[in-house]
Symmetry: C2
């Protein structure tokens, strides 16, 4: 064994050679770069001196010595304001739409300058409440800042000039959607831009606030991503970050449902990309999360909140007494997903599928009201409260019969007496149910009334929460602060997914789209056309009331439309016409 | 519940108020400072959102808002070189003795300057091998550097002038020792200074290299500290750092014996300070270390090295086949210490004392040679090798009978055929055995021949390792580098402890010195006097062949000398004279 110091040239002698490199980094990732006859690549193994050797982490973003993983390689682009408004006490710059950029000011003459950022004009002008604001002393008439989220910036020096540098991930827009309804087109475009701003090191919840990764927000991002960017690495980075590191002492994001959504997301990820290697890499974290959950299961098999657990589900009045129905539904689903992942990795599920079934059976036994055909939030309070949230999750994550689904749909979802969903987060799930029930016009109606009216308030990105009954600056307030609401929030971008999945209709039916269906559905539209990425290729779909045209560049697709089923041949356009009163046919 | 932003003034309303503060710090310690009617102090509780509430960490060094725990508050003092020697290719500064200081150079005229640090003159002058060296471009003729360990600095610019700032912990020298032998006095002074340089955030092993905390080095530092500085917080900081954080996946410092020494050190700490609160704080780490060890115990109750474990014991040829005797001795001692700590905390030892006894019994059964009266390193190799190391640890950490001890002492320690100890690390333990056997002149002889001759090579601090047979720069080489040896190493400072404990004779016999013995012993000396810190007070002892004088400022002491036993009254000097042929008497 020979020992070498840092940045050494190591001459390899003939024969088998074992190279071990010790590296330490107290600030960031310990990493190495080896070039020569032997190169650092994904075949190297790493351990933390505990002899738990595992594959090193690698990433396509870091392929030469000049790029350190300590600096995430964003792209940058100069952007300019669209309007410069001189006010009594300073200048207001309007950059035309929400952005995330490092601002620089020059030509300053005052000794001390106040700068206020705003997602809204009102926020930028608010001396007291604007969330991001600084008092600074210019040097040579200049001031520059870290990147922040904003549309407007107010500077107290009337001589101020400004420019900014947009910081972003250079993602290819591989999915597209255009339809006969201009409002929906604007919503789709705005959703895509909103989502892009939140796609960074990970899927962020919002670009101004929290700039954090939350498991259930991320779960929804997976779906939007697949119909827009198909960025597998971003999904992997997000799921890795959420898994955290040992010891696992609290639920992911401190929220019980979010632990479950993380496991469910991992199986979703596996189904989409067939990435067995990542499942193996993330396995220790999965094992710890599941072991943690099972260690907190009560004797009846249910998970009740312990001190410090946040039982979230949704921002809505729900009955959260004792064992909460929605949590058990997700718990059972998480165990089912974990069991299926274990089957992939080890060929057997270690009893998790049975455990999942036991919890599901117990959910039906305790929470399902046979008479009314609905699920109640809690059986321990005696209140028998019925909410959309619990029944939507039951619809999506329990193996309900068609009749049970129909009951939920008519008795809860279409029942105006059951309080409405108010968060875009749960609108995602509710609209999924609408689409799965085939009540086709409701999706468009929902997008129009909810998102369409949001755009009318001047939104250039989609808000975290929105109540059409509010007026003016009421839209910006949250958590007791007039501008605390995030005006650019990832969980509001579900139209990209919903229109791609339920209108263009491209749906994975196997593992990694080895088989997939294309089920175009006009819904409440006169016509649409668009593209859905699938692996390295794509599927393009256009439809109007008389005809559907589909081209797939990848094998495995089956077109199902107008009661017909046609195998798609890669590269060849399939055209199916609807004949009035008859089934469609291929040309 | 009311929410407040950062650096808020919170007005307390009448009645009971609960204040919760969330704080995050990705770089260093999350910490808070609260002033007002309620203040941040040790009564506050903290948790990491896992509802594992425990007492906050506090430290007497950080008592106002201006002092952040992110910056360790060292003291600083300007120091100047003693000699400036102009050479052909630059200037050599000699600071007179080893130090740790930030150097600054001025008056520089060259564009590019080479600076080389050296613990020895040869190292500073070695362009290729000096361990700390930089090529820098002066700004305005000046260059300044982070603190490093050195005595000499070479600067390639002949115009160079220099000064430096000594960085140190301002420790009070509470222990002292002076005797009739000037060599021993110089060794004591040099050991004290060596130790001081290594007392920083933690007990470091060496001030140039590794500048790291190692469990068995630290174990020895505890003893030196108690006879010199009595800095309880430094011990606590060191033991805390060694405990690491979850998950516990490898032995402390990767060394099996070091995990054991850490547990043994914690019980040593408890006995010295009676600090039950710290035992409670460090309990989770202790539990994890013991659980880790027990999970790796083989079916016969022994701990064998697993891949990645370092079986150290000492730098010496030993038989480390299979179960190593020395490791089992320390394992049994660690379980005994842990059991005793559990008794203090919970009133019962959870079976650890019984487990310890089982391992001890197995050690006697497998490793003890009844015929020869010695312990062998390994019983699995069939080699039956006998080393000082194994027998010294058996003497110190097993409950050997007086006869067994005597056998070890005569058959191993006094047996010149058994290879000698070569590290100051194990000299500590060997000299303990000499002193406990009462073979009184050997300690002085050992210090004189080993440390005395080290000083003759020009040492101003004590070396990591020393072989009197080496010459010149041979003394500085280690690990294949001519200057890699640490010339200022904590584990070489044991004379401070040995002279305090076995000559001045102040020994804790209870918990936190609630009872203690003073057993002065002239050993090979004509006379000595000195002071030993005990809690907030001290015990001073002076002795010559005719008389002993002892003053203790604290209660609980018993003087045992000349076959007499006298209770010490705080503040009152006890004088015992030796009468020739008679027992001593009090005046």
């Amino acid at each position: 064994m020979k020992k070498y110091g840092g940045s050494s040239v190591i001459e390899l002698e003939p024969g088998a050679v074992e190279i071990t490199i010790r590296t330490a980094n107290t600030e960031s990732f310990p990493c190495i770069y080896v070039e020569g006859a032997v190169e650092s690549d994904e075949t190297w193994m790493a351990d933390d001196m505990s002899q738990d050797w595992s594959a090193v982490g690698t990433n396509a973003m870091f392929t030469d010595a000049g790029k350190t993983p300590e600096i995430f390689p964003f792209s940058y682009e100069k952007i300019y304001y669209q309007q410069r408004e001189v006010l009594e006490d300073g200048v207001l710059f309007d950059f035309g739409r929400e952005t995330f950029a490092a601002a620089e000011f020059f030509g300053l003459k005052d000794k001390a300058v106040r700068v206020q950022w705003g997602e809204s004009r009102e926020e930028a002008l608010d001396r007291e409440w604007s969330v991001i604001r600084f008092d600074r002393q210019p040097v040579d008439g200049r001031l520059s800042f870290e990147p922040y989220a904003f549309r407007y910036i107010f500077v107290s020096d009337k001589n101020a000039e400004a420019q900014a540098e947009y910081e972003y991930l250079p993602l290819a827009y591989r999915g597209s959607f255009h339809c006969s309804d201009e409002v929906l087109n604007r919503v789709w475009d705005t959703a895509a831009y909103t989502f892009h701003l939140n796609c960074r090191e990970f899927f962020l919840d919002g670009i101004k606030r929290d700039r954090w990764v939350w498991a259930a927000d991320a779960y929804q991002c997976l779906f939007v991503n697949r119909y827009l960017f198909w960025d597998q690495d971003l999904e992997r980075r997000t799921l890795t970050a959420l898994g955290g590191k040992d010891p696992f002492k609290v639920h992911i994001n401190n929220i019980m449902d979010y632990s479950f959504f993380w496991i469910i997301s991992l199986y979703e990820y596996y189904c989409t990309y067939g990435d067995r290697k990542f499942m193996e890499q993330i396995r220790p974290q999965m094992e710890h999360v599941m072991a943690f959950c099972r260690s907190r299961t009560d004797r009846d098999g249910f998970m009740r909140g312990r001190p410090g657990d946040w039982i979230f589900i949704d921002w809505a009045p729900m009955d959260k007494t004792g064992a909460v129905c929605a949590e058990q539904i997700l718990y059972a689903k998480a165990m089912e997903c974990f069991g299926k992942i274990l089957q992939v990795l080890d060929g057997e599920d270690r009893g998790y599928l049975k455990l999942a079934k036991e919890v599901r059976d117990a959910v039906f036994a305790h929470f399902y009201d046979q008479q009314k055909g609905v699920f109640t939030d809690s059986y321990e309070s005696g209140e028998n409260r019925v909410t959309r949230q619990t029944n939507i999750l039951a619809y999506l994550f329990l193996p309900c019969t068609e009749e049970q689904k129909r009951d939920i749909y008519t008795h809860v979802i279409l029942n105006e007496k059951v309080p409405q969903i108010t968060t875009p987060y749960f609108k995602f799930y509710e609209n999924q149910v609408h689409c799965m029930e085939g009540n086709t016009g409701i999706l468009e109606q929902s997008i129009r009334t909810y998102y369409g009216s949001m755009l009318e308030t001047g939104a250039t990105t989609l808000y975290e929460e929105y109540d059409p009954n509010m007026r003016g600056t009421e839209h910006y307030a949250m958590y007791g602060n007039p501008y605390e609401k995030s005006l650019c929030h990832a969980w509001s971008t579900s139209p990209v997914y919903l229109l791609g999945n339920y209108r263009l209709g491209v749906q994975n039916t196997g593992i990694a789209y080895d088989t997939f269906a294309v089920r175009p559905d006009l819904g409440g539209l006169a016509s649409f056309s668009g593209t859905v990425p699938v692996g390295k290729g794509y599927v393009s779909v256009s439809m109007d009331s008389g005809e559907v045209r589909v081209t797939s560049t990848v094998p495995g697709g089956i077109l199902q439309v107008f009661g017909r089923e046609i195998s798609l041949e890669p590269g060849k356009e399939a055209i199916v016409k609807k004949e009035s009163g008859k089934k469609g046919r291929t040309e």
